[in-house]
Every structure is written in C-alpha cells, then in structure tokens.
C-alpha cells in the first residue's frame, strides 16, 4: 500500500543523506521525497511517499524515528489529509495545437507560465493522479520536459504536526 510519511527533521547538513541512505540500505521503496525548511529555520519538513506491506511500513516508520536527526514521523495516510504536487511541463506548441493545449491547461486548472514561438511552459498542481491525467492528455511527442516536485502533504482539520 502507498503511504505518505511526513517528517520533521533537524535542518542539518547530513540529514537528507541519512534518510535517503536508510531507504537504499534497507531496500525500502521510495516514490518521491520533498524537503524544505519550515517557519522555524532549524527544522525541515519532509514528505516521503513510499509503499510496502504493513510490516514494512512499520519498519520504515521506526527506522526513520531511530535516526538522530529525525524529530517526528507521522503517517499522513492514516487519516484525512491533503496532498499536492507541483509540475512544470514544457511542451511543443505550434500552429493549431497551441489552442488545444491552452484549453487542456484550463480544464486542469493549470497555468501557462512561459511562452515562446514554439513552446508553452505549463504549471499544474494537484495530487499525483491529476498530474498523471494531465500528462496522459498530452501527445507524448509534444512533451519536451517534465519537472515534478514530488508530493507534499498536510493533515486535514485541526491536527497539526509540530515540535
């Protein structure tokens, strides 16, 4: 099963490599990982999307907690949550497809953020499925570049993951 783990970690030089190293050393899956500092500059928030049996997820959770730089680990998938990912896509947009791509972007509530004679650069946010659907809707030959941030997530309601 797919799980979204949200981590608070010390904003220290080695922290990211410890976490990435843990996943590779113990052969845990890692679908995406996103990380950036929080409102408290000494703490980073990291979202890891992973998958595995319940037993493996439990191990991932515990092994992450064991790392000295990790302050807190929460499995967002255990309760209602919001997940979002940002994608930037550069597509070939010449002649009549220009209009069609614009329309598709609107349907997905994306935005064209840069334009050249032959290309559009489109920004789309949403969960992974939506971004996938958007890419599906494009002709693969038109796609020049895809850049995704990986998922970040937050719990719904009043629950907050803090120190």
């Amino acid at each position: 099963m797919r799980h979204i783990l949200s981590l608070l970690v010390e904003n220290e030089a080695g922290a990211l490599s410890r976490i990435a190293g843990l996943f590779s050393a113990r052969a845990f899956n890692i679908e995406s990982l996103s990380v950036a500092p929080t409102e408290d500059a000494s703490v980073s928030r990291m979202t890891v999307v992973t998958s595995g049996s319940d037993q493996i997820i439990e191990q991932i959770h515990k092994q992450l907690n064991k790392l000295v730089d990790v302050i807190k680990v929460v499995d967002l998938s255990e309760s209602p949550h919001i997940e979002r990912e940002l994608m930037l896509v550069k597509v070939q947009a010449k002649g009549e497809v220009r209009e069609e791509i614009k329309r598709m972007t609107d349907i997905f509530r994306g935005r064209i953020v840069d334009v050249s004679d032959n290309t559009y650069t489109i920004e789309v946010t949403g969960d992974g499925a939506k971004l996938g659907a958007f890419l599906q809707g494009l002709d693969p030959r038109q796609i020049l570049e895809v850049v995704r941030t990986g998922t970040s997530g937050i719990a719904r309601g009043e629950k907050a993951i803090r120190l």
Partner: protein, 575 residues
C-alpha cells in the same frame, strides 16, 4: 563573579573534554590531521593513549575494552587511510551495538571537497555503520559535540558515534566549558516499559505450559544480568542465550539449556520450536538464530522486550511488545512477581522439563576425547576447567568461535567477547588487548584460528609494548575451517581457496615479536601446555595447537531450515 572560562585551543579542548568525560584510555594511531591532538596528548598523563599497529587493531581494542567494562571505547585516527582502516571495527561495533566514540582527523575546512591529501568523506563512508556522526565546523561546537557523541553512543541502544574534526579546528581557540547535560530534542530513548504491557506480558508468561526464555546481547549491554537471574529463577523456566548473550545467565545453572541458533544445542532449538510462550529479552531474531522464518516458533505467543522499537516485529511478528530498557523492565517484572506470585499450574511445567530432559539426553555436543590428534573442543573444555570458567575469552570468526561458545561455559556477563553480528575475522587479538588493558590482572584468552589470527597479527607488537599477557590459543587446523565445512557439506568437497598454504611457524613468529610461543600436537600435552601458559602471568603466550583438520561444528541447522531440523554429528544422526 562568574568563574572565568579558560580559553583553549581545539586540541586542548579535545583532551580536556576526554578527561571531563572520564576517559581513561584512547586507542589510536597518529597522522597529519591529528598531530595537534597528539601534541596535547603528549603533554599530559591522565588520558592514556594506546598505540596500536593498525587502525583496525586500535578500533577492535577500543571495542573489546567497551564490551568488557561497559564503558565507551574511544578511538582516535587520522584522516583518509586512518579512517578507512577504522571502518571495519566501526561496523563491527555497530552490528553488536557497542558504545564506541571515534574521533577522526579531517583536512582543514577550506580544503574539504578538494580531493586534498588524505581526504576522504569520513561522514559519508561511515554513515551506514554508525549510530550517528558529526563533522565539527566550528571550534566553539567541539566540546558540546564530544558530549553529545558520548551521550548518543552510550544511551538507548548503544552504538558507535564518529566525530570528524578538521585540522584547523584543533588549532583555533575559544572558551572552554564541558556541558553537564545534553538535551537533543530529536533523540529521547525510552527507558521505562509501558506498565500495562508489562502486566499483560506477565499474565501470558505465568499462564504458559511450555515457556521458553530467549535472551540476547541486550541483557549484557543493559547490565541486566542480575535482574534476568532473579526473573528466570523465580519462574523456573528454561532459558537459552544467543551467541551475543552468553554469560547473562550462568551456563552452569540447570535452567540453562545452551546457546540457540545455527550451532546452538539441540535442546535449545527444539525447545524454541515447541514452546507455547516465548519471552525474548534484548535479542533481535537474527537469521542465524531463527533459521527459516516461516517455520519459526510455530506454536508460540511471543513477548519481546527491547530498548530499540525497530528491533520489535522486524523479522517476526510479536504478540506483546515492550519497548524499554531491559534492566528497567525486568525490575518491574520482578517487582510484580514478588507481590503476585500467582503461578502456572506446576504440572505442565514438569512435563515440559521432562521433554527437555529427553532432548538433552541426546548429548548433542559429545565428541571423542580419546584421540591422539587434538580435538579443538577438548582444548576449550580444558581451558574452561583450568580457568574455573572465569577468564575473559575473546574469539575470532569461524569454527573455533562456535566451539568456544559451546564449550566455554560462561557464568558471568561481559566475559565472552566476540564479533557476532559482522563476524569480523581479525577481531580476537586486538579485542583481547582492550580487555587486558582494562583488567591487567585477569586471565584473558584469545581463542582463534590460524586464518583469523594473521589478519591482525601485527598487534602482537602492541601487546609487547604495553605488556599485555594475553593467552593466544590458536586452534590450527590449516584450513579456514568454517569455509571448509560449508564446502564439504554444500559444494561436494571442492575446497576452493580455503586451505591455508604457506603458514608461518607460529612459535617463531611469537618469539620474533618478543613473546613466548609453544606448539602442541598431541592430546596428552594439551592440559600441561595450558597450565604452563596460564602460570606465565606477565608474558603473552601464543599456543599453536595442531588440531584435527577434518573436525566439523555440530549440531548444525542449515540456513533456510527450521530450528527443529538440526543435524547432529554423522555418527549420531537422529532417527
């Protein structure tokens, strides 16, 4: 008026911090990046530096010291090759959860990342085999980082911590104050077990009809041997120890039914397989213990007590997990047992012991004592007799290690010092140095094989320098015996590269290092030779026992098999 804090250079801070931490010995090897530190070590006498002959030797010595004393071992190495040589002992300590604090020199900060002379990414190289590591980037952080390193290494589930110190930092100055306490918000090991879980566990334990205690290195590391004895004796249940846990419960006690696992006793493994309640304490369900997981303890409800939550349910699902320091949890359990001695009906327990007695009567460790050629088991049995079971015994890795574990009956914890997790050949001799350093008057024996011994043989020189009268017991079968055994069983006797051709003359070798060397090649001479050697209180004696080349370690559970599927030696295979 506040007391003035002294202003010290980084190298002075380093030495002062070790003193303030109460460090007695630093095992190490010098080099460019740590020369400021060595200069400071030279100027004082409180912190004693032990110069090994290889960083691997220094690391295992620090590790042996830690295992025998329970105090953290301290290792100091230079940058580059110094720290790469230390990786094996660091990983060895990591696998066995040994508290080790390793200081490595690093090139000056402005050269980091430049492929400078003797630069390696020590933090990166050691990351997967340390509990934690630090790069010191500012001399003002040095003292606090050292404090944190000792705290992390010794608390919770212990382990090695590396502190990488760029050379320029050891030359810069700042005010020195050694912190009294450390608070690390992201690191708070659990101590007390959950009281509700403890009660639930006890209920299950008291209701067992075929109970089994299985305890590991965690009991030794957690200094919980006394509590374990009380718990086990109050219950009257059978107990087995893992390779790492030997001595936590006295091997001479009738409740002890031997080590378990791949080369454990028949009775211990059978009792594991057939038990209805398994009480695992400070053990981690390693694959050498469990065999095929699908067949592991099929009838048992499992209680698991461990300080490391990640050890629980890692390999085997557990019915009642208790996260906590084993000493604390056992103390709680003992307290409950005292006030509430409600016990299982005695009858089923008597039947269980009767069954165990039948398994014991197979006498799975029996070997032939009446041969002219020396049986390795016999040497260890004699050593045990002559030392009254009270020596410190280190070992290397191979058949001799298994025989030592089987035939030296440890009654005390921290007496049996071996590399169980990583299985590092070369560990035995340097580890024995560390133990002897800590206990100069004690008998310290290193049971080794000729292949393992030569892996760190240079340390004989260190033993001379510091007058360490280790008794080296070389069970010389002219083979990498354990490799040969597997090749005999599983590769149709194709002995690919397991033969030790061109061995040195170990007697002359010992002598050339300034020690006593003795060769023994007949069973009849074993006891006398051991007696003589043990009498030499101030000399290292290397005893080269020429042993039976074809002897195999039994019983044996082949990997991938269940615990109940053991092989006994061929002349006594079970019906």
């Amino acid at each position: 008026m506040a007391a003035q804090k002294p202003v010290l250079r980084g190298a002075e801070i380093f030495v002062r911090a070790l003193k303030d931490e109460g460090v007695e010995y630093v095992f190490g090897y010098p080099g460019g990046a740590v020369l400021h530190i060595y200069d400071e070590l030279f100027k004082q006498e409180e912190v004693k530096h032990i110069l090994a002959r290889h960083e691997q030797g220094a690391g295992h010595a620090a590790d042996g010291y830690a295992r025998a004393t329970g105090k953290p071992g301290v290792l100091l190495v230079t940058s580059g090759p110094g720290v790469t040589n230390a990786v094996t002992p660091i990983a060895t300590a990591y696998m066995d959860s040994i508290p080790l604090v390793v200081f490595s020199g690093q090139v000056p900060k402005h050269l980091i990342g430049n492929d400078a002379f003797q630069e390696v990414d020590a933090i990166g190289i050691t990351r997967p085999c340390v509990k934690h590591n630090f790069l010191v980037k500012d001399v003002r952080d040095l003292a606090a980082t050292i404090k944190k390193a000792f705290f992390i290494a010794t608390s919770g589930r212990p382990g090695p911590v590396l502190v990488d110190i760029p050379k320029d930092i050891t030359a810069q100055s700042c005010e020195y104050e050694y912190p009294q306490n450390v608070e690390i918000r992201s690191y708070r090991p659990v101590v007390r077990g959950h009281p509700g879980q403890i009660r639930r566990a006890l209920k299950l334990i008291l209701g067992a009809k075929k109970p089994m205690l299985y305890t590991g290195g965690g009991v030794v590391l957690g200094n919980a041997s006394e509590e374990l004895r009380e718990f086990t004796r109050t219950l009257g249940y059978p107990i087995t120890n893992t390779l790492m846990g030997l001595g936590a419960f006295p091997a001479s006690d009738r409740q002890f039914i031997g080590m378990l696992g791949m080369h454990g006793t028949y009775e211990a493994n059978m009792a594991m397989h057939h038990c209805d309640v398994l009480i695992a304490i400070g053990a981690r369900f390693d694959d050498r213990v469990t065999g095929d997981l699908a067949q592991f303890c099929p009838y048992a409800k499992i209680v698991h007590i461990d300080v490391d939550p990640a050890s629980i349910a890692k390999n085997v699902p557990v019915d009642i997990p208790i996260v906590g320091d084993v000493k604390s949890v056992l103390t709680d359990l003992n307290g409950l047992l005292r006030e509430n001695p409600e016990r299982a009906e005695p009858q089923p327990l008597a039947e269980w012991w009767k069954q165990i007695g039948e398994w014991q009567s197979v006498d799975c460790l029996r070997f032939n004592r009446n041969t002219e050629v020396i049986k390795p088991q016999y040497v260890i049995e004699k050593l045990w007799e002559l030392t009254g079971g009270d020596a410190y015994v280190t070992s290397d890795v191979g058949q001799h290690q298994m025989w030592a574990a089987q035939f030296y009956k440890f009654d005390q914890p921290r007496r049996w010092i071996n590399s169980g997790g990583l299985g590092t050949m070369g560990f035995g001799l340097p580890a024995a140095m560390g133990v002897q350093m800590a206990f100069p008057e004690a008998t310290v024996a290193c049971i080794t094989g000729e292949a393992s011994l030569v892996m760190c043989i240079q340390e004989l020189s260190t033993c001379l320098q510091y007058r360490l009268p280790v008794k080296v017991i070389n069970l010389n079968n002219r083979y990498m015996g354990m490799v040969r055994q597997w090749q005999e069983f599983f590769y149709d006797k194709r002995y690919s590269h397991s033969y030790m051709d061109a061995l040195p003359d170990f007697v002359m070798l010992a002598q050339s290092f300034g020690h006593v060397g003795v060769r023994v090649d007949k069973t009849a001479d074993v006891e006398g030779a051991l007696r003589e050697a043990l009498k030499q209180k101030d000399r290292l004696v290397l005893m080269d026992f020429i042993t039976d080349q074809t002897e195999n370690v039994y019983p044996m559970m082949a990997s991938g098999k269940g615990q109940h599927e053991m092989h006994l030696s061929p002349d006594r295979e079970l019906a």
